[in-house]
């Protein structure tokens, strides 16, 4: 089928473009004679993967994944729950939404040192930083999605004496799903940034912490590899979100 061929072509293109980017990087280093401590070659970067003792890639990547995933899913649960509560109570919405928006103006990075005082070092504070930086977009998009119901559709089900719960489960929530997912996609990027910043300042493990460690010895290859691993963590979370969206949202309703 043409559809299958289109898909194959798309995937081939994606892989080719990524490989080309790496090749261009390698060519630039080789031809431009760039000092390795300024910019390592891709091959040197990948070589750091073999030195497990020094970098503990698996452990550090797991730690970072835990803060990214933890912060992200916590934000999804809290963001969606709050949005639902706000949609049920106008009063709650009017009372708390402005406060939350104001609180969101706090630069979350600045909270790092405070979180250290409160919670000491470790995974917990990092999850909290990732959470605090990415939960607002989810709250806002979900709120909007829950409100996007045609009033006439509500009329229609009101003539059938639909309960509030029925309206919520059959109409509002499924209708809001595309919005929730578009919020989640924005949140993935923020969660990764939040977790890494947390590890820069309030951690003794994780890829962010590793970067600070190897920076001291000008080990740019190690730093680059850490950046690549962080990216991979983000990409895998993004892929999970896309997959879930594919399962839960009818193609026509997806927001690209």
């Amino acid at each position: 089928m043409d559809d299958g061929r289109d898909k194959l072509r798309k995937w081939v293109l994606i892989i080719v473009m990524h490989l080309l980017a790496v090749a261009a990087w390698q060519a630039w280093i080789t031809l431009g004679e760039v000092e390795p401590y300024i910019m390592p070659a891709p091959l040197d970067t990948f070589a750091t993967l073999l030195e497990y003792k020094e970098y503990a890639w698996v452990h550090n990547t797991l730690i970072t994944s835990a803060s990214v995933f933890g912060g992200f899913w916590l934000a999804v649960v809290v963001g969606v729950t709050l949005a639902v509560l706000f949609s049920w109570s106008r009063w709650l919405n009017d009372a708390f939404m402005p406060l939350i928006v104001s609180l969101n103006m706090i630069p979350k990075v600045a909270l790092g040192p405070i979180f250290i005082v409160w919670f000491s070092y470790g995974l917990g504070p990092n999850i909290l930083i990732a959470f605090s930086i990415c939960f607002l977009p989810i709250l806002i998009t979900t709120s909007r999605g829950l409100g996007e119901v045609e009033p006439e559709l509500i009329d229609l089900v009101r003539t059938l004496r639909a309960s509030r719960w029925q309206i919520f489960t059959k109409i509002q929530l499924p209708g809001a799903l595309p919005f929730i997912f578009s919020g989640m996609k924005v949140a993935v990027v923020l969660a990764v940034a939040g977790a890494i910043v947390g590890e820069f300042i309030a951690s003794e493990e994780g890829l962010g912490y590793l970067m600070m460690q190897v920076q001291v010895t000008l080990d740019t290859a190690g730093m680059f590899m850490a950046v690549l691993m962080i990216t991979a963590v983000g990409v895998s979370l993004y892929a999970i979100v896309l997959l879930l969206e594919r399962l839960l949202v009818v193609s026509d309703a997806r927001m690209e």
């Binding site: 009329d155 003539t159 059938l160 004496r161 029925q166 209708g175 009818v250």
Partner: protein, 256 residues
């Protein structure tokens, strides 16, 4: 006249929307009867209150003066179960396929789903959507979506169908086709239909009775039987009687 009590009786109905600064007269002087099995067209310009009357019949709006009675001792009417609504927009849930959309009222009312499924299948045949049960709304044309909406309005076997400009968003040709389809469906289902439109030709062509409302002030201006035989055909529109009826309405609306 008929010795049996009418199915619907509106008597001196008046509705005022209370505004902050001033009140707004939505409709007044609405007095008409609908016999069981009739198709009554309510026609008038925007702002004449025809949708308001429909919403009063649906139990979605209250009224200040006058009385509204639906059903009788012999012909009981349950407002939760006996109303089917169709609006200008199909208002299908885009994450549900056509069959599941049609089943929505049955789910809300908690009907026996096996029976409802059977019935929905027959209704899809009746509205000309056999073979589209598994399709999603975005795969259907506007006219087909509106057919699905009509099937949804019939699925819980209500006694009264309220239609608010159901073909207003369709192109002229599709609209004529849907008019004929509606007459056929009405003939097959034997339902009482109140059909709101701003199309004068449409009102006369469909209705066994036409109720005319005027704007400024919003009030009922006329109520007459259309004595054209069923089944109605498109060439009736060129007949003199048809022209007499439409002229009568144009005159009331001050357009002649």
């Amino acid at each position: 006249m008929n010795s049996q009590p009418s199915f619907i009786r509106l008597d001196g109905v008046r509705k005022v929307y209370r505004g902050r600064r001033e009140d707004f007269l939505a409709v007044s002087d609405v007095t008409f009867d609908v016999q069981a099995g009739e198709l009554v067209s309510m026609v008038g310009p925007s702002g004449c209150g025809k949708t308001t009357v429909l919403k009063i019949l649906a139990g979605l709006h209250s009224h200040e003066e006058g009385s509204v009675r639906i059903g009788s001792e012999a012909d009981k009417f349950d407002p939760a179960r006996d109303i089917g609504m169709v609006f200008q927009q199909p208002l299908l849930l885009k994450w549900r396929n056509v069959l599941d959309n049609v089943l929505l009222p049955a789910e809300i009312l908690g009907l026996n789903m096996a029976e409802a499924r059977d019935r929905a299948g027959h209704l899809l045949d009746m509205v000309g959507l056999s073979g589209f049960a598994e399709s999603y709304p975005y795969e259907l044309s506007g006219g087909m979506q509106q057919r699905a909406a009509i099937a949804r309005a019939l699925v819980h076997d209500p006694k009264l169908i309220l239609m608010d400009e159901p073909f207003g968003a369709l192109d002229a040709l599709t609209r004529e086709k849907m008019n004929l389809e509606l007459l056929r469906i009405w003939g097959e289902s034997g339902k009482t239909i109140v059909f709101v439109t701003h199309g004068i030709q449409e009102a006369v062509f469909l209705g066994s009775r036409v109720v005319v409302l005027t704007a400024g002030p919003a009030r009922m201006a006329d109520n007459f039987l259309v004595e054209l035989p069923y089944p109605r055909t498109l060439d009736m529109k060129t007949q003199e009687t048809f022209g007499d009826y439409t002229r009568r309405i144009y005159k009331l609306l001050g357009m002649e």
